[in-house]
Subunit: 340 residues, 2 copies
């Protein structure tokens, strides 16, 4: 397992990371939204005990109680994709266990008692699944899961019933976005029980051209089917993106290169950068690296900038709450330094 | 006299160049628009004879007959401010004499028989006037000017009657432009018998924030008055521009620096640049140099780029007619090379 933020990989790979998430609940306990903080913290203790007493878990994991953290720190965990806003909403009784390399995190008392996720660099979905599966088994040695022979794993929301499994991949799709191809892809995926959504930005505008493709159906399908279907679909989208890039490059070579090098020029020189503009410029530079047009920039640097330029991460970095303008100034400074 | 394009000067000077132009006509000959090409070429010969036979003119001047030049070459002379489009319209019978350093040019058969101009770097208006005056006297030794005791010099258009003198200065006014101060200045100048207009761009939009201030009235005033009035007005406008810059910098330090450094980043990295965008970006960089925010760029480089990135100059450089897109690509390449 490798942290995707530190991943260099092949410059032409369009899949930044993949993620396996499984939802589990402990038999005989109320769902998180039915528990009071005391009950919730007891469950946190029980799950920690089950996790850490297991001989296979070494010291490279630690548990973080949200009720003991400050707000900014918590927001930063969200920006790193380690926890969800849902976990934060239950912060009086929620926690998460995280590995030192931040590829594995286990949320306690989000929507379900356990939300175990493995985020791995590149498109190694099976490796992530094996890891998740192993940890799932370890926990089950000490705790009984709520499980129904006919349905499968019981979850707080019916959309997760059955396998409790959500598999996803984060893909960089600037050419399809430019070429207005995303609506067609969303339509096709919906018909196959999958979905795609922008990782940053709201509504139809996906800042940074980063998308997450994931399965929607968890019930009545096997884990193997979920994973192999996602693999097939992601490979197809990546092919479409690459074809669109070739098409655009054939027709608009100079315009595309202009977009890419201007982005680099602005990132290296700007004195103020909003979060949205920064994501868009990083996307253009990433496309340049992926297409072999920019040769001297490492992708791990771009991955890292995606995270550290987010509002809370920026502020933790400067150890204080900043105004929007101060964030824009510090973001630009940070990016300039990194790209020097 | 110094060619303004090669002028470095003090980085804080906002006046790029100044120009003296005098209009003269030879007694007993029809105005240019009343001559046929044969008559016109005879006059060209006569003026060349008067100019070059004079002992004070050394070999550093030469005469160019427009009817012997190709179109692109002629357009380039316009971009260098050596001739006007009016001269080009009479190209079958027009010519100009130019000094090797291109500070002096004498158009023959534009609107008047003689349009003598001296363009000098910086704000050395009196030096330009002395030079123009000296050459004017030299010509008068051999040729009789059309002159009326009461009115002064006779010109084809009544707006030039009297002194036949137009004095002007090219000033860089980005802050006043940003701050919507140009309309007020135009109004005030009009009341004083002067005018200001954008050097590039049409209508209200002045690309590159470069303006030319000049006297409108030539009749009933002395040469000395024209020059000292222009000096006073230009100094006042420069003060206003500097005050506005201070004001903007005080209020919007980071925004202004962002504008300046982004412009530099784009100029150094773009793959395509339109003429208008290029002028605007060069203006921002120039402002950075003038304000001491950018320290390692020489103004003569910026002056030179103003000329060589113009369409015809670009094409002469590449020795062929280029499409608009090709010009944008070559302009970007040229700017990038220059700023390396």
């Amino acid at each position: 397992m490798e942290n995707w933020q530190k991943h260099t990989g092949n410059s032409e790979d369009l899949v930044l990371s993949n993620r396996i998430r499984i939802a589990r609940n402990i038999k005989g306990r109320p769902f998180p939204h039915k528990m009071n903080p005391e009950q919730a913290r007891t469950l946190v203790k029980d799950i920690e005990a089950a996790f850490f007493t297991n001989a296979h878990i070494n010291s490279s994991y630690h548990s973080i109680h949200l009720w003991e953290c400050d707000e900014l720190e918590n927001e930063r965990y969200i920006e790193k994709h380690l926890i969800s806003t849902g976990l934060l909403q239950n912060k009086e009784g929620s926690a998460f266990i995280v590995g030192d390399d931040e590829t594995v995190s286990l949320m306690i008392n989000e929507e379900d008692h356990i939300r175990l996720q493995c985020i791995n660099a590149g498109f190694s979905l099976r490796e992530s699944y094996e890891m998740a599966n192993k940890l799932d088994d370890l926990i089950e040695e000490s705790l009984d899961y709520a499980f129904d022979e006919r349905i499968g794993y019981i979850t707080a929301c019916p959309t997760n019933l059955g396998t409790g499994l959500r598999a996803s991949a984060m893909i960089h799709l600037p050419a399809l976005t430019m070429n207005n191809g995303m609506n067609g892809i969303l339509k096709a995926l919906t018909q196959m029980g999958m979905t795609i959504r922008g990782l940053y930005g709201e509504g139809s505008k996906a800042s940074g051209n980063l998308y997450q493709v994931s399965n929607q159906i968890t019930l009545g399908v096997s884990e193997e089917d979920i994973i192999s279907n996602l693999e097939a679909v992601v490979n197809q989208i990546v092919n479409e993106e690459n074809n669109t890039r070739e098409l655009l490059y054939g027709k608009y070579k100079h315009e595309l290169e202009d977009k890419i090098f201007r982005a680099l020029g602005i990132l290296k020189n700007a004195v103020m950068l909003t979060s949205g503009e920064c994501l868009d410029l990083l996307s253009n530079v990433r496309m340049g690296v992926e297409m072999g047009i920019i040769k001297d920039i490492d992708k791990s640097l771009l991955n890292n900038l995606l995270i550290v330029t987010q509002p809370a991460s920026l502020q933790v970095n400067y150890n204080t709450r900043l105004t929007e303008k101060e964030r824009d100034i510090n973001r630009a400074r940070l990016v300039k330094e990194a790209l020097k």
